[in-house]
Symmetry: C2
Subunit: 133 residues, 2 copies
Amino acid sequence: MPTTPSTGVRKLFEDPNLGHIATLMADGSPQVTPVWVDLAGDRIRINSADGRTKVKNVRRDPRVAISIAAPGGYPSAYVRGHVFALTHEGADEHIDALAKKYMGRVRYPLHRPDQQRVTIVIEPDHASSMMAD
Amino acid sequence: MPTTPSTGVRKLFEDPNLGHIATLMADGSPQVTPVWVDLAGDRIRINSADGRTKVKNVRRDPRVAISIAAPGGYPSAYVRGHVFALTHEGADEHIDALAKKYMGRVRYPLHRPDQQRVTIVIEPDHASSMMAD
């Protein structure tokens, strides 16, 4: 059941805070890695590349979770959800937009011709937060 | 197979960087939440309280993962491992030590008599990092 992030949770994802995305390995154990994040409506987007463990993981099992905190650790939020879409389309432009958000760069400086970027769109099913509002 | 964190990974856990710990819900889906962390030798410790989801989760399935990043997101590291011990013993003193590390406070300001603190000791099985060294 999709959930709509609150204003406070949205702000955590809109500000240049790092997300930490958990995915499931083939044996069902968790993996968690830091990622750039942004929002598309009520959905959360990350950007990765074909061949990366987290991409293999979500192709196998779409269940994910994301934790995010402001500098200093407060406020913070954590979301459980599932991969709604995984696409190559627009993924290069998306990593450029994330580079602008997180690095202030017009273009992602680490583009590699041998690397196929992937945008992963996540639908939140459950969101919790620690914040004043 | 336990692994020994590198000097760079150790420093990420020694500095007051927030960890993000992934655990497994009853249905096998991941949960990830921000946590204070420290080291005990080559093991990673977090502190929680009885009744919290992550504590229930690791009592059921000891497989966990932790992601951690310096301010700005670099360097960063991520560890997969398992719960080596889960104990009430010394857990109040441990949360005080974490409050000193993260808040500069002598004592954790949110002690609650109705809350039983728990120290969770994690043995890393696999560690990766993004850093210069």
